[in-house]
């Protein structure tokens, strides 16, 4: 039977071991719950709650129609005003001194202060404008920023905006989550197989290389379903945020080619790290006591380094990180979103990543072959090096 068929059987098995529709649905329900809470809280905060009544002294204020504020005439005496505040009939008493200073008398901390401040700012600004003889249009023209058009030598490139930066950050974050999710499952799965003594039954039927390849494929596929679920959840939360508030979902012109390259690079990066994890896990006898478990945190370093791209996508270091196989999976997508890497850089990155995967899976296969049958002790680094260097049959 072919190596590929064995890989696919193992991949299917590993995927089904962990993928449960119930878990996926629970995950989505969780996001729906968050969205519901967000929606409800936003609506309450938006003034669907209690009206704020502010008594004004010798003033005629108009509350904006969409706000919570309501202005009424203040009682004639100070004692009546204080009584109104203490009884909860009034939330504040607003008066104005001769020098134009506003004074707000309250019983409790005024949570509506920002709303009131905006209204008073507009009143003050209008008064000062009238005194200066300028029209509102004149003021707008004075305050307008100097026009500046940024053009790139590559006419197809656009300047990075906040939305692009958010997307780049999300890509790096998702990559990190996926890598550590796979790591957790590979770690528990392989350690469990060693402890349950499943190994001999499997390696008598298929090659250790087919086993590790299948595991890596299966768990990478499982991690991808996690990403899809996360994306669906994010979409649900985004839509609910849009419905509940005036949150504007940023419009970003995403080119399908870039999406494809980003997806391929991200998947290859996960495969590379999963090969590494499988090899390390095969050398660990007991995950609870092994000092080698700390090695599983290594992916945090290159993923962390990829933040450099986020800050300065066109620096020399960013170029290098986007090509170096251990960092290219988070760094290249970030550069593709924030900058405009050339086709040579993309191809070099992909080829180096594929080469690194081939090498890592071969090394991992050799470590896995011996490590999976080693019970009760952890091999030294020298022993591991010997396993890797030994001739193949």
């Amino acid at each position: 039977m072919s190596h590929l068929r064995h890989c696919l059987i193992v991949a299917g098995w590993e995927f089904r071991r962990y993928f449960k529709w119930k878990d996926q649905i629970i995950g989505l329900i969780f996001f729906l719950g968050i969205s519901g809470v967000w929606y409800g809280v936003a609506k309450v905060l938006q003034g669907r709650g209690r009206t704020i009544t502010v008594a004004v002294v010798d003033m005629n204020l108009q509350a904006p129609p969409s706000g919570r504020l309501e202005f009424v005439s203040a009682p004639p005496t100070d004692s009546a005003r204080i009584e109104g505040l203490r009884a909860g009939d009034l939330d504040g008493v607003l008066s104005r001194g001769r020098d134009g200073t506003f004074d707000l008398l309250v019983e409790q901390d005024p949570r509506y202060q920002a709303e009131l401040q905006a209204l008073l700012n507009a009143i003050s600004q209008g008064e000062r404008l009238g005194a200066s003889g300028l029209s509102p249009q004149d003021l707008a023209a004075i305050n307008a920023p100097a026009p500046l058009d940024v053009r790139f030598t590559d006419p197809t490139r656009q300047q990075t905006g906040t939305a692009e930066k958010i997307i780049a950050g999300v890509l790096i974050g998702v990559m990190l989550i996926s890598v550590f999710t796979s790591m957790a499952y590979l770690m528990t799965g392989i350690a469990g197989e060693k402890q349950l003594r499943v190994t001999e039954s499997v390696v008598s039927a298929i090659s250790p290389q087919a086993w590790i390849d299948g595991k890596v494929i299966g768990l990478t596929a499982y991690s991808l379903t996690g990403i899809v679920n996360l994306a669906l959840g994010g979409l649900v939360v985004g839509i609910s945020a849009k419905l509940a508030t005036d949150f504007a979902i940023p419009k970003i012109a995403i080119r399908p080619g870039i999406v494809l390259v980003i997806a391929v690079v991200a998947i290859l990066g996960m495969i590379l790290w999963n090969c590494f994890f499988a090899a390390v896990a095969a050398t660990i006898d007991d995950p609870n006591t092994s000092t080698r478990s700390s090695m599983l945190m290594l992916p945090a370093i290159p993923v962390g380094l990829a933040v450099v791209v986020f800050r300065d996508p066109d620096s020399l270091l960013s170029h290098l990180l986007a090509v170096f196989p251990l960092t290219s999976a988070p760094a290249l997508p970030a550069r593709m979103v924030l900058s405009n890497p050339g086709i040579v850089e993309i191809l070099a990155s992909l080829l180096l990543l594929i080469g690194a995967i081939w090498l890592t899976r071969r090394v991992a296969g050799r470590i896995f072959e011996v490590g999976m049958l080693l019970y009760g002790k952890e091999p030294s680094w020298r022993e591991i090096a010997r396993w890797v260097a030994r001739p193949t049959t």
Partner: protein, 310 residues
């Protein structure tokens, strides 16, 4: 008969210690061949080399299950029950069986059909959708055995198939071994349970310290190691055995309630011995005995250990 497996002077070292040392044997097609030996004799190392999990440092293994000869066992034609047994405990029984069937070359549909057949045969059909860890240890062993034979292998390698089983399950497994043999499957087994091996095996190889110390059929082993005549007497409850012990031809006596197992000196005449004691001891029945495999095993290993120590 043609050899299914030929092992030629294989050596396997772990560090400076030779776990298997210049071992040669062959397993004929259709026979039940047993590897025996004390703990640490190297049986499991031999089995692992045969299955291809580890490689011999020296020597050659030739496998000929059909027309071709190879150096490794083809997984589709081989069934393997490892000594270190284990399956995925959190996975339902049927799914586990289908997976291992597929790994051994069956399609998913065929693996499903065969799994159902075997579950029926093992009286586990009503447990097929339960997680493996919901089953008793004996039933888990049965599931493990199904994974080893459900693809109808030409050769089944069973490492300690009887260990950890109660007597009824041991009998069940023994019947299964005999059924597999009747169906033409070549079987190589390693075991400690001498009485069961004695009943199942056509030929035996006894190992100690990684080397062969005895090999052959059961009758050849007995003849080779112990040609002293043996007699079993059943006596009356109040019978005195002193006269038996004092007979000049008697070398060893073991009394088990009303049964006396007597070993005579080499060359002693059984009829003469019986004629002498029949008037001295109240005897209900007399039978001659062959040495049991257990005794052959113990004596051979002790002899080998003595030789090695000296």
């Amino acid at each position: 008969m043609q050899a299914a497996i030929q092992v030629d002077r294989i050596i396997k070292r772990f560090g400076s210690r030779a776990a298997v040392d210049q071992l040669s044997f062959d397993v004929q097609r259709g026979e039940v061949f047993a590897l025996l030996g004390p703990n640490g004799a190297g049986k499991t190392t031999v089995v692992r080399m045969l299955v291809g999990i580890i490689r011999p440092d020296e020597g050659r293994i030739a496998v000929s299950l059909d027309q071709s000869t190879t150096s490794t066992l083809p997984p589709e034609q081989t069934g393997y029950l490892p000594e270190d047994r284990g399956l995925y405990r959190e996975v339902p029984v049927l799914r586990t069986l289908i997976y291992f069937g597929q790994l051994r070359g069956l399609t998913a549909g065929e693996a499903n059909r065969r799994a159902h057949e075997w579950l029926e045969r093992m009286s586990l059909m009503d447990r097929k959708n339960e997680r493996l860890d919901a089953l008793s240890k004996g039933n888990q062993q049965r599931v493990q055995l199904i994974t080893a034979v459900m693809h109808k292998p030409t050769l089944a390698i069973l490492d300690e198939p009887f260990s950890g089983l109660d007597p009824l399950s041991q009998e069940f497994f023994l019947d299964l071994v005999q059924d597999l043999k009747a169906a033409g499957t070549t079987i190589l087994l390693s075991a400690h349970q001498m009485d069961l091996v004695e009943r199942a095996a056509d030929r035996v190889l006894l190992m100690n310290r990684g080397r062969e110390i005895l090999a052959g059929s059961m009758s050849e082993l007995r003849r080779h190691l112990d040609d002293r005549p043996r007699v079993r007497l059943t006596i009356e409850a109040d019978g005195n055995t002193q006269a038996v012990r004092e007979d000049a031809d008697v070398e060893d006596v073991t009394v088990e309630e009303e049964e006396i197992h007597i070993t005579l000196r080499p060359g002693a005449s059984v009829p003469s011995f019986i004629a002498r004691i029949v008037s001295l001891v109240p005897i209900r029945s007399i039978a001659t005995e062959a040495p049991r495999l257990h005794e052959v095993f113990v004596r051979a290993v002790r002899n080998d250990d003595r030789k090695a120590d000296s």
